[in-house]
């Protein structure tokens, strides 16, 4: 694994700011956001990292080093023995929380990026369908940000226009016009 990390570091000297193994034995590549898809493609095509594990955001607001505020960690695993895993880490600034999407590289990234967007408000550029996934569209705020209050109420949501389910998609029912 050490050779792999060093090899990648020398192959992408600009894109990878550091490659290290944490004291607890997890391997990390810290990648510049704009180069994320390029490194990801190389990992997938040349190093067999075909099994997508997940995307996970961290809000560093209350940690000692909190600039840039967010980090996003993508975990990938080799799709064959020895099934090694690797964490790709990218830092995202609070002012423009954007990161290139990896949904084009691994299909599994699609929903996990929606999840990270839902919870942290980090926008994944180039994502095919970036919507909230667990919460509803009208939800205000991103609950896993550290400055989101634990208690509180969300405003009431106006009733949505609905389509006539029995007749399939078509013109909406003329509810308001009938008066």
């Amino acid at each position: 694994m050490k050779e792999l990390l060093e090899g990648l570091k020398s192959r992408f000297p600009e894109a990878i700011t550091s490659a290290y193994t944490s004291p607890r034995g997890d391997d990390y590549l810290v990648v510049k956001p704009e180069s994320l898809p390029e490194v990801a493609r190389c990992l997938r095509d040349e190093h067999h990292f075909t099994l997508y594990i997940d995307t996970c955001g961290i809000d560093r607001l209350l940690l000692p080093e909190n600039d840039p505020r967010f980090e996003v960690i993508c975990t990938v695993r080799q799709g064959q023995a020895p099934w090694k895993k690797l964490h790709l880490k990218a830092f995202v600034a609070e002012a423009s929380p954007e990161l290139p999407s990896l949904a084009g590289v691994w299909k599994g990234a699609d929903w996990w990026e929606r999840y990270t967007f839902d919870m942290y408000g980090i926008r994944f550029t180039g994502h095919p369908d970036l919507r909230r996934i667990l919460l509803y569209e009208e939800f205000q705020g991103h609950p896993l940000r550290k400055d989101f209050p634990l208690r509180g109420r969300q405003p009431l949501v106006a009733e949505r226009n609905f389509q006539d389910l029995t007749r399939g998609p078509g013109a909406q029912l003329p509810v308001a016009e009938s008066k």
């Binding site: 944490s22 004291p23 607890r24 034995g25 997890d26 075909t50 099994l51 997508y52 594990i53 997940d54 996970c56 961290i58 209350l62 940690l63 960690i73 975990t75 695993r77 799709g79 023995a81 020895p82 099934w83 895993k85 964490h87 691994w106 299909k107 599994g108 699609d110 929903w111 996990w112 999840y115 919870m119 909230r132 996934i133 667990l134 919460l135 509803y136 609950p143 896993l144 989101f148 634990l150 389509q163 389910l165 399939g168 998609p169």
Partner: protein, 417 residues
């Protein structure tokens, strides 16, 4: 475990019927696409998922799953509880096999703490975990039978699950949400005489499992519904992040217990069943085979289990024994500090993973050095499988959605957190 595919193909039901020649009378009728809303309170959607399907006649042209109806803010709750208080929340992720969640989460906490749990605790974790894995697979097979019209299967499978849950209740004090693990070990030792009762129950469960196997595996209706429906290929499955039985049904032999053995899985003899088609039938058959393997693991573990402590003796992590609390000042202090402040986990981050009932169950935890998790992210195996549902069923019949949804065994608790 290669015979499961042959079993299906040799069965008379799998032989293709002669195709009917398309004549003018069979010309397809003009039809308009219709949108059907399945769930979230539809029984086949397991109560938590809403599926919008666009139908072209009986065929699904497009499917859009919508989740989140069971979202309870798992991560946010964990960030506001101590490391030990998270256990009940973790239990409620995959509520059918809660000890597996516990042990997966505790593996992450112990990785941060840098502690190694005693040998006996490892065996107890394997035994409890495998019993719960059997519960999970029995539930899946039973529910699958029920939803495909074989109610009897459900009764047999649930009887088996009840037997195992009774044993779990004797061990942990609860049938479903056990909160059994503790950082550094497990909460209590095996009760006296429990091992014999487990073996007796395993015998009964094996008989029930064989009954279920006999009722479904060669059943013509069952094969018609499952064989070559809901197919996903090997590359796509990896790409989507499939793990566990659903990935193994595609012919990929990835099992965390073998690939990166944890606890004492390297000392136990068991096989990894794999399928070949990646269809509903293989996903079902892999589960039946895994029931047999888990049975084998529990029996071996019960024979091998050594004597010794069940939890480490570090009072900064584990509550001191009650005589110490009532008799010594150190005991009182350790008890008080631990309950008021929680375990002081060193700052850092770690990803720990284990084989849950449905695949790789990962926990990404971050500690800032206080008594609460700074972040506790769960990588639910069902999340990846559910995201692949549109690809698996588009172009198939609406009726195929039901077994496909069954076999991926998406558990609302963990997927929707």
């Amino acid at each position: 475990m290669t015979d499961m595919h042959e079993r299906a193909t040799q069965s008379p039901a799998a032989e293709a019927l002669p195709a009917i020649s398309p004549g003018p009378l069979d010309a397809p009728l003009e039809s308009k696409r219709m949108v059907i809303n399945l769930g979230p309170s539809h029984p086949a959607m397991h109560g938590t998922v809403r599926m919008l399907v666009e139908m072209e006649g009986e065929t699904i042209a497009k499917a859009v799953p919508e989740i989140g109806f069971l979202h309870r803010g798992f991560e946010k709750s964990c960030e506001n509880s101590t490391w030990t208080q998270c256990l009940p929340y973790v239990d409620r992720l995959n509520y059918v096999s809660s000890t597996l969640n516990d042990f997966g989460y505790l593996a992450a906490v112990e990785k941060l703490l840098g502690v190694e749990i005693p040998e006996r605790a490892k065996y107890i974790r394997v035994i409890a975990g495998e019993l719960h894995r059997m519960c999970d697979h029995l539930t899946l097979v039973g529910a699958m039978g029920l939803e495909l019209g074989a109610f009897t299967v459900m009764l047999y499978a649930i009887e088996g699950r009840e037997l195992l849950w009774d044993r779990i209740a004797e061990l942990c004090g609860a049938r479903v949400t056990t909160s059994f693990g503790r950082p550094g070990g497990v909460e209590r030792d095996l009760p006296p005489g429990w091992a014999e009762k487990v073996v007796a129950s395993l015998d009964k469960v094996a008989a029930l499992r064989d009954e279920v196997d006999a009722l479904l595996t060669h059943n013509r209706i069952f094969i018609d519904r499952c064989y070559k429906t809901g197919i996903i290929g090997k590359e796509d499955a990896l790409n989507y992040g499939f793990t566990g039985p659903c990935l193994r049904a595609c012919g990929v032999d990835y099992d965390v217990r073998k690939a990166h053995p944890y606890l004492v899985y390297d000392k136990l003899d068991f096989d990894i069943p794999i399928g070949s088609n990646g269809d509903n039938y293989d996903r079902y058959a892999v589960r039946i085979e895994e029931l047999k393997q888990s049975d084998k693991i529990v029996r071996q573990a019960l024979q091998q289990i050594p004597q010794g402590p069940i939890i480490i003796g570090d009072w900064r992590i584990v509550l001191p024994p009650k005589p110490e609390v009532y008799g010594t000042i150190e005991g009182v202090m350790a008890h008080f500090k631990l309950l008021m402040e929680g375990i002081q986990v060193p700052a850092g981050e770690a990803y720990a993973y284990s084989e849950g009932a449905n695949g790789e169950l990962g926990f990404y935890v971050v500690s800032d050095g206080s008594g609460r998790p700074y972040k506790c992210h769960v990588r639910a195996p069902g999340f990846a499988m559910l995201s692949a549902i549109p690809q698996m069923i588009e172009g198939q019949l609406l009726a195929d959605l039901v077994p496909t949804f069954d076999t991926i065994n998406m558990i609302g608790g963990e997927v929707e957190q």
